[in-house]
Amino acid sequence: MSTASIIETCTALYEDLNFESVRAWKAQNETRKVIGFMPVYVPREIIHAGGMLPMGVLGGGDQLEVIHGDAYYQSYICRIPRSTIELGLTNRLDFLDGMLFPSICDVIRNLSGMWKLMFPDQYVRYFDVPQNYQDDIGGTYYINELKELRQGLEQVCGNEITDQAIRESIALYNENRNAVREVYRLRAEQPWKVPSSEVYLLMRAGMLLPVEDHNKMLADYLAAAKEEDRPLRDNCRIVVNGSFCEQPPLNLIKSIEMAGCYIVDDDYMLVNRWMLNDVSTEGDPLQNLASSFLHDSADTAAKYCTSDDQVGQFLLDSVRETGAEGVIFAAPSFCDPALLERPMLVDRMAEHNVPHISFKYAENSGQMQPIREQAGTFADSIKLWSET
């Protein structure tokens, strides 16, 4: 199978705002349930272990006309909640049996309550996570939250979600995370072979497909991409940071690459890579999920950093590990976590002489010329004046 045909499938999934693939999955058996989730992280293993499909809800992108959603939000609030409400009110999400709203910011937090009021027949949960990383404090709290989540999901699916089923799901998601990491590793090593627009679509497909199918898709893509013969360009290597919730339009990602930047790392869909290593499949699965969350998970602005010297360290490590020459801080307009944290990250990059630029976008940004110019100038400046 060629990368082109795989990406064609991914593109069709990405562009389908009626989520026909998920509807088709659900229609195969009347007992099937679908649980939607928003960025940045939920333990999909528990949903999967209940025989349900976890489905990432990442807003409406640049192809959805938001009419109803704008009536729910002031102009100074980001776009993802309004397009998500649009999806809900136009019945595009009417097949969902539940929605999880992870702890990421006050807008998504409040959207959980709005969803409860607007869609009272759905199972709706604000999914809180610990910002305290001590096993006996934050860990205990989180394990109990996971137990509550499991109980709630059991009521949706009508089955007991056993420890063994969760262990088996963890194994499948470990496989998924390994494959995702492999795609990222390949892109960092040979970015000309793995365009970021393709990586993005591949990761987005994982938001809709059953994990088993996504695992196969990732394996097929990896095999095909390694065989691809694509020209190496004189691009600089950059990391994109700040795009972990509201997603940029695909054209923005393409524009960055067209402007002369190979994206060698990003934080677009962190749920795929939240756990940095395999979650243990031995013993208590909830404890294992909690332990990985506390001690072995990705960093993002939605998390508390326990010491100042650790702020930005994850990004700096990523720059070093991928051999990046610069960072593009690309955050959605009005994104509290990304924009509040940005000055600290900028300082950290400056301390280590990592070139960086910043801009904002919305999921429906249409004008790419300014982005191309900014990214292009950044790429040129790295090429011309970088000491490395």
């Binding site: 006050d106 409040n110 009021l117 607007m118 508390y304 509040l340």
Partner: protein
């Protein structure tokens, strides 16, 4: 004659003078730590653990209050622009930027002396995501010790045992040891009990004062006046004898106003006729606070209940600090603050206010800076209109950024709203 000269002299009652002297004394204490050696904890209004801080002989410095102070004194605009020049986004909370800007301008307190750097950042992460990044930013600037108290959000509209246990455990294992370490004072739970006893006493009187607005005509304005009434309990005085005395004096004053059938006191004296009774959701604008208030009392509009006055504790639903369960009580307090409650709970509370305070409607002052309050307010307004049949209105301002207060727009909207209420009344009486 210009507008400033035309303003009549502000009337000061005993409670106001008392509060003023309390605030001045606290700023004097804060700005003299170099001489006294006292340690300073910075923390937030929601989830403010003032009694606990006092147990360690520490002073409480609240950056939100400093920002409000600078907003009311028309100084915050320059501070915010200064922070923006230093790379802080125009999209984020202006309290944060006013605070960062204050630092770059010498951290001057209202008494003209510099505030000391905090010895401890007590990050009470209650009901507001921005708090977490705000104190990370301050830690980045000050390099001081920071202790985090995560207060889980009431996503399902209730406090579970797990949530409460989590907060209690953090208080016992992290917050109290950090306070002991920084202050060098050993924790004494009996001292905490004494403070909490005084807190509860003051809270009883605060609730009585706020609920006096159920009277038609209301002796208080529960928003513009309310922000002064909550001052001591929300800031560095909850648990003190001063706060107990303040609320006794205040209650006495309001009792007298009730007996005399007087309306709220305004900066220009007693309010004349009470024409409109409103419930207000959202914080006030601070940079044009007086002008904003005047738009209400000039038209006979009284705010009879507000949610902003619950942001540092929802006491009118029954919660009191409990000396018999001191740590648990602090946990319950944090968990119950207004912005830690989910949207359906907030709607329920507003509906209750509109009905119990016989309000003509709900006015939302939507604040650009504060997504914790603002995200979802348009749905809140629709729900309240649907449930109560009373009209809602929506205005937009900001906390301390003067660029986002458009007096003409706000006044137009308010006047339209008052006309709408008049029309509803007429059509109701005609029916």
């Amino acid at each position: 004659m210009n507008a400033t000269a035309a303003q009549t002299e502000v009337i000061k009652e005993s409670s106001m003078l008392k509060q003023k002297s309390m605030i001045a004394a606290n700023y004097d204490a804060l700005t003299s730590t170099a001489d006294t050696g006292r340690k300073v904890a910075s923390t937030f209004v929601p989830g403010n653990l003032n009694e606990l801080i006092m147990c360690f002989d520490m002073l409480n410095n609240l950056p939100e209050i400093n920002a409000i102070n600078n907003g009311m004194r028309k100084k915050s605009g320059a501070m915010i622009m200064d922070a923006e020049k230093r790379g802080h986004s125009e999209d984020v909370c202006t309290y944060v930027k006013a605070d960062i800007g204050l630092m770059s301008k010498g951290n001057m307190a209202p008494n003209g002396k510099p505030l000391p750097p905090p010895d401890l950042l007590l990050l009470s992460y209650t009901g507001c995501f921005t708090f977490m990044k705000w104190f990370e930013l301050l830690r980045h600037e000050y390099g001081c010790e920071t202790v985090m108290l995560q207060v889980p959000y009431e996503g399902d509209g209730k406090v579970t045992k797990n949530m409460r246990d989590f907060v209690v455990k953090q208080l016992k294992q992290e917050v109290i040891p950090a306070l002991e370490r920084v202050s060098g004072v050993k924790f004494d739970i009996d001292r905490l009990r004494e403070y909490l006893k005084q807190s509860a006493e003051a809270e009883d009187n605060l609730v009585w004062v706020l609920e006096s607005a159920k009277n038609v005509r209301s002796p208080i304005d529960a928003y513009f006046g309310g922000v002064y009434y909550i001052g001591p309990i929300f800031t560095a005085f909850r648990g003190t004898k001063d706060a107990v005395e303040y609320y006794e004096i205040l209650r006495g004053e309001i009792e007298q106003r009730l007996q005399k059938g007087q309306g709220p006191i305004t900066p220009e004296g007693d309010m004349a006729e009470e024409k409109y009774r409103l419930v207000v959701e959202g914080p006030p604008n601070w940079t044009s606070f007086r002008d904003f208030w005047k738009m209400f009392y000039d038209d006979g509009a009284v705010v009879v209940a507000s949610t902003y006055t619950k942001v540092g504790g929802v006491y009118d639903l029954g919660f009191r600090h409990d000396p018999d369960h001191p740590i648990e009580s602090l946990a319950d307090y944090c968990l119950g603050c207004y912005t830690n409650r989910n949207l359906p709970q907030r709607v329920d509370l507003l509906e209750k206010y509109v009905n119990e305070y016989q309000a003509d409607g709900l006015l939302i002052n939507s604040i650009k800076s504060c997504n914790s309050f603002s995200a979802g307010q348009l749905l809140i307004m629709r729900e309240i209109e649907k449930r109560t049949g009373k009209p809602g209105a929506f205005i937009e301002t900001d906390l301390v950024d003067p660029r986002y207060f458009s007096a003409a727009n706000v006044k137009n909207r308010l006047e339209s709203y008052f006309q709408m209420i008049d029309q509803r009344r007429k059509s109701k009486s005609a029916a």
